[in-house]
Symmetry: C2
Amino acid sequence: VAYDDINLRVPGPTPVPEQVALSGARPMVNHRGPEFAATVAEVLERLQPFFGIQSEPLLLTGSGTGAQEAAIVNMLSPGDEVLSVTAGVFGERFGAIAEAFGAEVTRVQGEWGKAISAETVAEAVRDNPAIKAVILTHNETSTGVTNDIAQLVAAIRREATGPQPVVLVDGVSSIGAIPFRMDEWDVDVAISGSQKAWMSPPGMAMVGVSERGWAAHAEARMPRFYWDFTKARKNGEKRTMPFTPAVGVVHAMQEALRLMNEEGPENIYTRHAAIGERVRTGLQALGLELFAEPTAASNTVTAVRTPEGIDTSTLIKALRQRRVVVANGQDWLKGSIFRIGHMGWVHERDIDALIVALEATLDESRLEQAV
Amino acid sequence: VAYDDINLRVPGPTPVPEQVALSGARPMVNHRGPEFAATVAEVLERLQPFFGIQSEPLLLTGSGTGAQEAAIVNMLSPGDEVLSVTAGVFGERFGAIAEAFGAEVTRVQGEWGKAISAETVAEAVRDNPAIKAVILTHNETSTGVTNDIAQLVAAIRREATGPQPVVLVDGVSSIGAIPFRMDEWDVDVAISGSQKAWMSPPGMAMVGVSERGWAAHAEARMPRFYWDFTKARKNGEKRTMPFTPAVGVVHAMQEALRLMNEEGPENIYTRHAAIGERVRTGLQALGLELFAEPTAASNTVTAVRTPEGIDTSTLIKALRQRRVVVANGQDWLKGSIFRIGHMGWVHERDIDALIVALEATLDESRLEQAV
C-alpha cells in the first residue's frame, strides 16, 4: 500500500515507495561531482541484470517516448527502410517517430489484443529484404499484450538475407518486471523508463545498445543532438549523464534499484507473474472480459472490456471515489476498455483492494441503471 | 543554508529548499488526472510574470539543452539561414544544434567575458538579410555575462529588411532571477530550466512562444516528435504535458513557485542583484580577478580567473573539503577560471560562507606553494 492511501493503478507513472521518494528528495548535488558519479555507477551496475546485457546501458533525461525517439535517430538515416511491427498505440508511435525523421516505414499490423506471430514477422522480413531496422514492442501498454521477443527476433535473424537489420525493442513497460534477455535474444536497442517497473518517478530513460547497434549508430545520419548515443556513452564512462540530468530521479532510482537488488530479479519476475494472474482471475470472477488473448496476457498491464451499458469514464470516476485510479483506453479503444497497471511496487493487497473497489463500483452502476 | 550542510554553488543544479524537495516526493499521481491538472494550471500561471508573457508557456520534460533543441526544431526548416550570436559554451551549443538539424548557421562571435554589442548584431543582420532566426543568449553560464536582450532585439527589429526573423533567447540561467520581459522585448522563443533560478530539481524545461513564433512553427519543417510545440500546447490546454512528464519535478516546481510568488518577482530580482554584487565585492576583496567585464557581470553566475600558480581542479577539491562546491571553466576556459552559481535559493550567508571558505583555501594553497 502506498504511503498515501491512493491505489494508483494506471500503467505508469506507478507508485513510488516512500524511501524511494525520499531518496529522490535528497539534497541536490553537482551532476559533475563525485557523489553523483557514485550514484550513476551504482545505477548502471544494477540495471544490467534486468536488461540482460553485459554492456552498460545509456541513461537519458526524458520519457519513454524520448527513448523511442533516441533509438530512431541514433540507428537510422533518412530514407532507410524500416519494418514497424505494431498492434497498439505505443508500437504505432515508435513507427510514427521513424517516419517523422524520414525513414521509409512499412507497417506490419497485428491485431490489437493479440500477440504478434513469428510467422507474420518472418514473412514481412522476407518481403522487405532491404530493411535496416525492425521495430518491436515487448509489452504493449495500450492493450496489455506481451510479445515473445526471443521468438520474433529469431524469426528476423533467420529470414534476413542481406545484412542483419537492427532490432529496436520497446521494453518501456516490461523491463524490470518481466524477464528480458537482450544479449541472449540478440536485441540491438532496448528502451525502458524510470516510471514503469522501476518503482521510481518519471523523468529518466534507460537504453541498452548491442555491438550491432553501435555499428549502426556510426552510420546513422538522422539529425540529433540531445539524444545522441555517443554523448550518452561518453558521459556514462565518466559516471555522469549528458547535459543536466534529472538528478532527483536518478537518486530515487538508486534507492529503488537497491530494493530491486535485495528482492532479486527472479523473485521480482515471479511476483509480477503471480500478480498478473491474480488480476486476471479477480477480474474474471467479476464477470469481466479481458481484452488480451490469454496466452499473451501481460503481467504488467491488463486491459479490460468495459461491460455493456456502463460508461468507461463514469466508471473510472466512480473508482476514484474509492481511491483506486485506473486508466481509460487509448485511440480507438478509448471508452471501450479500461487499463490497470500492475508493475513495479505492487503487491497482492493492492490487487485485492482494486478488485473489491471495482466490484462495489460495478454493483453501484448496475443498481443505478436498474433504477 | 541548505537542509544539508553543503554549500552547492555550481551554476546548476542549484540548491532546493527542503519543502520544495519534499513536495517533489509527494505520492505519485496519474499525469492525466485532476490532481496533476491542478498542479500544471498553477505552475503555468505562476511562470508567466517571470517570463513576462501574457500567453502560457510550454512545459517539456528534459534539460535546458533539450529546450534549445526544441526551440530549433520547432522554428526552422533545413536550409534556413540562422544568425547565431555567441560568446560562450551555451551560445555555441545553441548554434551547433541548429547546424545538426540542417540550418545554415552564420556565427557572430563575441568576445568571451564581454557583452554582445547591439552594433555587432545590427551589422550582422544587415549583412544577412535572408535570416529566418537569430539566436541570443541572455545569461551565458560559461562566462558569467548577461546580455542586454532588449537592446539586441531592438537592433534586430530595426535592421531587418525582409520578414522579421524569429529571435530565440536562451534564458536558462536567467529567467526567474533576472528581469525578463518577453512580450515587451519582442522575443519569439525564450527557454528556461527548472534547476536554475527556480529552486527546483532538474528535469523540466519551460518555453515561452510569441505569436510570431507560432507562425514560424507552422512553417517549420525540421523533423520532430518528442519536442513538438503543437503537442506541448495541446497538452498544456488540457492542463497536462506531452507523454509522461517528470511528475516529481513538476510537484517540486509547484511549491518553489509558491515561494517565489510569496517573495514576489521584484524582490527576487533585487535579492539577486544584491547577491551578485556581494559575490563580486567579496571575490575582489580576496584579490581575485573577475572574468566578465563589470558592466555585463551576471547576477546569477560569476566566473573568476584562477590566480597564477594555483591549479583550478586542486582549488575546487580543496573547497569541497570545506563543503563548498563550485564549477570549473568549460571548453578552452577549463583550468583557467572557476564558476560560482548564485541563483534561485541563495542568500547572503551562503555567499559569506563561500568567501570565507575560499579565503581559507587560497591561504592554504599559497602556504603550500611557499613550502
